[in-house]
Symmetry: C2
Amino acid sequence: MSLFLQVVPVSKAIGEIRSLGNRCGQEQVTLGDALHRILAEDVLADVDIPGFTRSVVDGYAVRAADTTGSSDSVPSMLPLRDRVAMGSSAEKILQPAECIYVPTGGVLPAGADAVVMIENTEQIGDEILVKKPVADGENVIFFNEDFSKGEPVVRSGKRLSPQDIGVLAAAGCSDVPVVRMPKIGVLSTGNELVPVTVRPLPGQVRDVNSSVIAATVLDWGCLPVFYGIVPDTREALTSMISRATAECDVILISGGSSKDDRDMVSAVIAELGSVLVHGIAIAPGKPTIIGRCGGKPVIGLPGHPASAFIVLIAIVRHLIVTMTGETGTSLRTLQAVLGQNVASSKGREDYVRVAVKDGIATPLFGKSGLLNTLVRSTGVVRVSAEREGLETGTTVEVILW
Amino acid sequence: MSLFLQVVPVSKAIGEIRSLGNRCGQEQVTLGDALHRILAEDVLADVDIPGFTRSVVDGYAVRAADTTGSSDSVPSMLPLRDRVAMGSSAEKILQPAECIYVPTGGVLPAGADAVVMIENTEQIGDEILVKKPVADGENVIFFNEDFSKGEPVVRSGKRLSPQDIGVLAAAGCSDVPVVRMPKIGVLSTGNELVPVTVRPLPGQVRDVNSSVIAATVLDWGCLPVFYGIVPDTREALTSMISRATAECDVILISGGSSKDDRDMVSAVIAELGSVLVHGIAIAPGKPTIIGRCGGKPVIGLPGHPASAFIVLIAIVRHLIVTMTGETGTSLRTLQAVLGQNVASSKGREDYVRVAVKDGIATPLFGKSGLLNTLVRSTGVVRVSAEREGLETGTTVEVILW
């Protein structure tokens, strides 16, 4: 193989990786298990919400017109006809110039159009003195005002927040149709790697990538499946990739960070299927491989954990979104002013780690192999391929970790 | 009891609720289960990271001085003495004016101080032509440069991100000391409530609060325990609160939204323990109760789901943070320009739901009982108790949901 990679622009790499994504199926989970899952179908309200016009305060249901001009000195006086109990229909119909007690959440009696708060009234025997006028509709939520029966309350593709869960509860959705979590096979290769539990000898490093990759895809709502550290031999790689593609939806192989190793990963993918991309115009992350084996996307990530993490966010994320159909996946960003010049190469998309403090983004020019810049940075600034760098004082968008 | 609540300022309510928080204990989880858990102790690197000076490129280890002045036309010529294998120590010591091949991640041989990228060289027999000079330390990560042995890599109180998980892996932390998840008992009261699975009759509403509250505390890393809908009787409430306080760390009771019901919840808490706060100068959320039974915080939330949600974020969150010791819990916020005047009452902290689009925050003046403003809003704008409102055009901080 050539010494040089055939690098493709980031947009091309994203296009290729998206083309590999098969849409995940769906499954039902209970409402209590639905938080952060992605909704697979629009959920419609099965009833009108609320199903009746209700009071939002403790007070007296009235016709608003009967309270016009009421004040502390000249209250309206309305006979108290009835009391509505919580959870039941109002039995009496309100007649002009009278009132019916209604608790917060209680049914507004027919004939009434507003509720006077109890704090603005005084009871004298069976009469209620109203000391403040109310407008038509005041302190009332109308039948149907929140959601109509049959109206979508949460749309397909939404990652469910606590508020969404509440709205699904109101809509009677106790079994929630959600997107099946993609199973992501996580493999590491590299003769220098030892498991986390082993103390590395000179020349060895712990397998950090398996943990970072698994935690990242878990964070995205996927199910990581560990295949451990695979020896850097063609046989071992072939057998493990075959097994993982049979068991998972996507395979992420990290490492093989030296050129020989990368070539081996690429050769094995080509043998089992095809390599679509080997080399992306992105820094860090250039030696990324995008391939397919047995119809499943097989992605070769750089061996440096910091580089692998950037590629996950900048490239692999698009594959997962294609598979889950998640909407509204724009990254969390923050505007900040660049505190130092950042040089970049034209034609290459650079991701520069920055620490943001008091609105100033200071680049951390850490070598991409250092882990500490990952945890000491607030996020990354993207320098597009068209630019040769960014100047101090430029307002930049920081993609938050 | 009085018709009017004894409202306290938000700051006082936060102080009281914090005083109730007992610090949670800790437990060990595997690294694969540690994502989003809160670290209970500083974790120290058990080794120097990296444990050896290594190359970050495929290339030739050299003394930088031997490459001074190299160019395409006048390359330096260095005999190739050895090849370092991945995962093993370098065997030979580099002598002046020679080079040793080293793969990405390989050990830098003693005597070398930089690595020339293979792309900037050419091999002719046993000689390597170096066509570009390197500086001292170029393409090298030094022993210890990332973390020193004994140095804290992640601090106690941190909610673990994917990157943190990676750093813990590098530090050899396979069993992670994390804060035990607080168990939160979730009860709803109100004769109007029916379970989500039931189609409400006139006067009835589904129990939305149990689902919203459970999902919110789950989102914060707590373990919700459902106690269902408790009938609005003193006996039922007393027995269920007693059971929940015996089994959980915190009890959140929602509903009892009418004054009679609120008084009943308050009376039962007072009988089983004590009521510290009944009424907070916050809108929505005024009728909140802060109490203690059997040494456990028992919080009465408003019956309206939207109000209950605001109280969770503005008040209850402080209790949970006190219990878990989580650091860096500042809310996610966004700056936006207010698109409409917002009126407020002085002496009361208002939380106004807004939808943000193109930098403009438009208030959603929905009635607090409506659920749809919760899912249609981007977040809330806090109007402090000192202000009587906010004018159109003011730059505001939107607390994102």
